[in-house]
């Protein structure tokens, strides 16, 4: 196996150009922490992007940061913390979920989070990784350097190719430099824990429909082990301290949950939401496969109920019900058919997608890891892939047989 490790943009172009000439596809890696995600690859060459790193420009008052794509997230987050700022999309760390040691998981990069469009609990309020991705420079599967977007927060010049790169899992281009929007870190955070609510869905909907700016809403049913937090709806409030205090009182007065609230603050609150985003409740179930299902928020609980009829499933809800984390036994198709049928719902019109986030290599080869698309959409996606990577040399097959 050959491994290239370009040191700069020109070497990156040369490496891709050479793979193109040799017709030998490349597996793109940087920190290598996301190899367990997506369809497994077995490619003759590896393109190690990890040298393309370092913060290149960061102006806190412009809310913009430019960095080498493979800059470790830890480095980015440390620089932001010094200026009381943050990545508002809360990139999760699925290292433990995938059985990586902490030292390995610490190699997560900014480019990796963007390329996989990974976002945490604040997604419902602040948007996904793609919403904070302003521009990039990189090399397409044609072996050509190109850039898109800009280094300012507001820009509509040309097609928004940043959106296309986010979530493309390195199948269209290798990113060399990325520019992201950063935001102030909230001064104060409080989590309201409502135990055994009469209806978890109703509580979350009521909270999210209130003007009290709930920045995260999760529900852990009985049995979804996260010590101290079971059978509870958790709601997060962030902002200046007087604001959080005011909204907390209002929200509690307005919610008709029929239960005594517990307020969690400080490190305990931070750790809780990190655990929700990182799928911590499933890290201790290494034999189960893990699905992440995005659907209309109001359908979260009904979807979970539907699959537990057929599967021995453990689950919890994030995104106010719009994200269902499911752990099921890996036997047969790992629950794929049941989960995807429940996603469409009884009338077949439900929208959303289910992705297998953790599973044995053999399973990830034998079933579609990502939601299968309609023929028209799949054909369009294949044409988009061909536009950027006509010879299929960048991570071919990572998104699916044709992706």
């Amino acid at each position: 196996m050959t491994c290239f490790a370009p040191a700069d943009l020109n070497e990156l172009r040369d490496a891709i150009g050479e793979a193109l000439a040799a017709e030998e596809p490349l597996e793109l890696i940087a920190g290598g922490t996301k190899r367990g995600l997506g369809r497994p690859l077995q490619l003759p060459r590896t393109l190690d992007l990890s040298h393309l790193r370092g913060i290149r420009d960061y102006q806190p008052s412009e809310l913009v940061l430019t960095a080498g794509a493979a800059t470790p997230l830890a480095e980015i987050e440390a620089a932001l913390a010094e200026n009381r700022q943050m990545l508002a999309f809360e990139p999760p760390d699925w290292g433990r979920l995938h059985g990586l040691a902490a030292s390995e998981a610490g190699r997560r990069t900014l480019g990796g989070a963007i390329a996989c469009n990974l976002s945490g609990p604040r997604r419902i309020r602040a948007g996904a990784a793609r919403d904070h991705f302003l521009g990039f420079r990189g090399v397409s599967g044609r072996g050509e350097i190109f850039k898109s977007g800009g280094k300012v927060v507001k820009n509509v010049t040309g097609y928004d190719l940043s959106k296309l790169m986010a979530g493309s899992f390195g199948t269209l281009a290798a990113l060399e430099e990325v520019t992201i929007r950063v935001l102030p870190r909230p001064e104060h955070v409080a989590t309201l824990l409502l135990r055994r609510p009469t209806s978890a869905m109703q509580t979350m909907t009521q909270a999210l429909n209130s003007p009290h700016e709930v920045s995260a809403a999760a529900y852990l049913p009985a049995g979804s082990a996260l010590s101290g937090f079971t059978e509870a709806v958790a709601l997060r409030l962030e902002g200046p301290e007087p604001s959080v205090a005011f909204r907390r009182e209002r929200l509690l007065a307005e919610l008709t949950t029929g239960c005594e609230p517990v307020v969690v603050e400080g490190e305990e609150s931070t750790a809780f939401w990190r655990a929700i985003g990182d799928a911590e409740p499933f890290a201790g179930l290494p034999d189960q496969v893990v699905w992440r299902v995005s659907l209309a928020p109001s359908r979260g609980a009904e979807f979970a109920a539907a699959i537990t009829h057929h599967l021995d499933a453990v689950w919890y809800l994030d995104w106010g019900g719009g994200l269902v984390w499911v752990a099921v036994p890996s036997a047969e198709d790992g629950g794929a058919a049941v989960i995807r049928a429940a996603l469409r719902g009884p009338d077949g019109r439900g929208t959303g997608h289910a992705a297998l986030i953790r599973g044995p290599v053999a399973l990830r080869r034998s079933i579609p890891v990502f939601e299968p698309q309609s023929p028209a959409l799949a054909a369009l996606a294949a044409r988009v892939k061909a536009a950027f990577d006509p010879r299929r040399i960048l991570n071919p097959g990572r998104l699916g047989e044709d992706g």
């Binding site: 040799a22 009381r84 898109s148 507001k154 040309g158 493309s168 102030p184 999210l208 995104w319 536009a387």
Partner: protein
């Protein structure tokens, strides 16, 4: 400004094309007479006009699909149009093109409070979306100043912004899904009521694609609960530098206002003369800072912004005591464009974005350009996100003035790019900034964008002549020069 040369063969078949379109979309929906076509010859960029070959106003998605399939088979160009409020000429017709007006798609299809979203046809106006849900305490966040007229379909095409987008994002951050018809008549659904794309984020590239990728026939937008309250500060400064530094200090202090707008002296005077908003006339820069959210938060932040304004040598500070006063602060800013229209026979509204730190420098150099071209300029500025709207004043009846105004505008946009900014923050490229794309992007950048276009519209029939300075055939763009397998890069580190 040159548009693609009309195709004589298509023009020759005009009556046949009109007949065919009448079979697809019956009744009054096909407009052929010159007098009636006149209404469509221009959009919000009135400096340019062109009669379309024919106008079609379908009202069903099947009709849109059939019109596109027909045009695609015959090789006829199609220009989509919403309300025609584009400030960049995005809906400028083509002499040999079908103008596809989406105004009849004007129904709200579904209001879903449990999922905080509304599904509407593309011809519904931006404001109508908010009006449909405001009694329940919700609103649709992006609010371009044309919101009373502009349509949600047009907003998707242009990725429209507004004064609140620093905090709440542009259109792209506020939509969940679209139904779209491709040029060959194929219908696709992107997204739905859920978050994030499965596979490539095509919704993300369709948003802001200026009508070049497909015709949106249905849009699902996110709605947000209305903030409990809002208050605004009106702050005057003796110099633009002080105002710019104050904006930077507010953001560096961790405050993201709901809106933060700046006006320069000419804009302040024009607005005050027009609406009597009570603006101070002895300042060089005026800042409106609106804070929204919980009353306790607003009170806290008003105090902090007030202190920062004083620290940055503000000469006047007023804080709104009630909603009427807050709206009065905004009235001048919201009327700035028509106010400038009163003091000048014509104006161009420019739309660059710059890193905020460069504001004072850009304004100074813009004044220099204004002297050189002998044309006035008034500035309104979305200060929070660095989006400048210089209004160039000219008189189209004076020979040569429109050309000078265009040159002046181009120089301003070049300046924006030079200091690290971009050509357009929210109005789109259209025809207006098309020929400046090369200032920001090189040939490879543009070719990669155009290949995306080829994936959607291989014949280049949708809205040609917009966005890209040069049209290339997809076959030519797709050609790949690969050398025979060898090791052409012996110096590459490998292990």
């Amino acid at each position: 400004m040159k548009m693609p040369a009309p195709d004589a063969a298509v023009l020759q078949r005009r009556s046949e094309i009109i007949e065919a379109l009448r079979r697809i979309v019956p009744g009054e929906a096909v407009i052929a007479s010159e007098a009636e076509r006149r209404a469509y010859e221009s959009d919000g960029l009135t400096a340019y006009h062109q009669l379309p070959m024919v106008v079609v106003l379908p009202s069903r998605v099947e009709e849109v699909a059939a019109v596109l399939r027909y045009c695609s088979e015959l090789g006829v160009k199609v220009v989509p149009r919403g309300a025609g409020t584009s400030l960049s000429g995005g809906a400028l017709p083509l002499a040999d093109g079908v103008l596809l007006g989406m105004a009849r798609f004007n129904r709200i299809l579904d209001i879903d409070y449990d999922n905080r979203c509304v599904t509407a046809q593309p011809g519904v106006t931006n404001l109508a979306l908010t009006q449909a849900v405001e009694r329940a305490g919700f609103y649709y966040a992006p609010d371009p100043s044309s919101q009373i007229a502009c349509t949600i379909g047009g907003n998707v095409a242009e990725n429209s912004g507004g004064v609140h987008c620093l905090k709440y994002g542009l259109t792209t951050n506020n939509i969940l899904g679209v139904e779209m018809v491709l040029i060959d008549g194929e219908m696709v659904r992107l997204g739905g009521k859920h978050f994030d794309a499965d596979g490539y984020d095509l919704l993300g590239v369709v948003t802001g694609s200026e009508g070049l990728l497909g015709i949106v026939t249905e849009v699902t937008v996110r709605i947000l609960p209305k903030p409990s309250a809002a208050r605004a500060l009106l702050i005057g400064f003796a110099t633009a530098e002080d105002a710019g530094e104050c904006v930077a200090a507010i953001i560096a202090a961790g405050i993201i206002p709901g809106g933060m707008e700046m006006m320069d002296r000419p804009a302040i005077h024009a607005a005050e003369a027009f609406v009597k908003a009570g603006y101070p006339l002895d300042v060089e820069a005026l800042l409106i800072v609106e804070l929204d959210g919980a009353p306790a938060e607003i009170d806290d932040l008003i105090g902090r912004v007030d202190a920062l304004a004083r620290a940055h040598r503000a000469t006047t500070i007023r804080t709104s005591r009630d909603d009427a006063e807050r709206l009065a602060f905004w009235s001048g800013r919201k009327a700035a464009f028509p106010a400038v229209g009163r003091i000048s026979p014509d104006y161009f509204c420019m739309d660059g974005t710059i890193p905020r730190a460069r504001l004072a420098e850009v304004l100074t150099r813009m004044r220099g350009l204004s002297d050189r071209y002998g044309l006035g300029v008034a500035n309104v500025f979305h200060a929070g996100d660095g989006n400048l709207h210089p209004l160039i004043l000219y008189d189209a009846n004076q020979p040569g003035e429109i050309e000078r105004a265009e040159e002046f505008g181009a120089d301003i946009l070049r300046l924006c790019v030079e200091v690290g900014g971009v050509l357009t923050g929210e109005h789109g490229v259209g025809v207006e900034k098309r020929d400046l794309m090369g200032v920001m992007f090189n040939d490879s950048d543009l070719a990669h964008q155009q290949r995306l276009k080829c994936a959607f519209d291989p014949g280049g029939l949708l809205n040609p002549g917009k966005v890209f300075p040069q049209l290339h055939r997809c076959a030519e763009l797709g050609r790949l020069h690969v050398h025979a397998a060898r090791l052409p890069f012996p110096d590459l580190p490998r292990f």
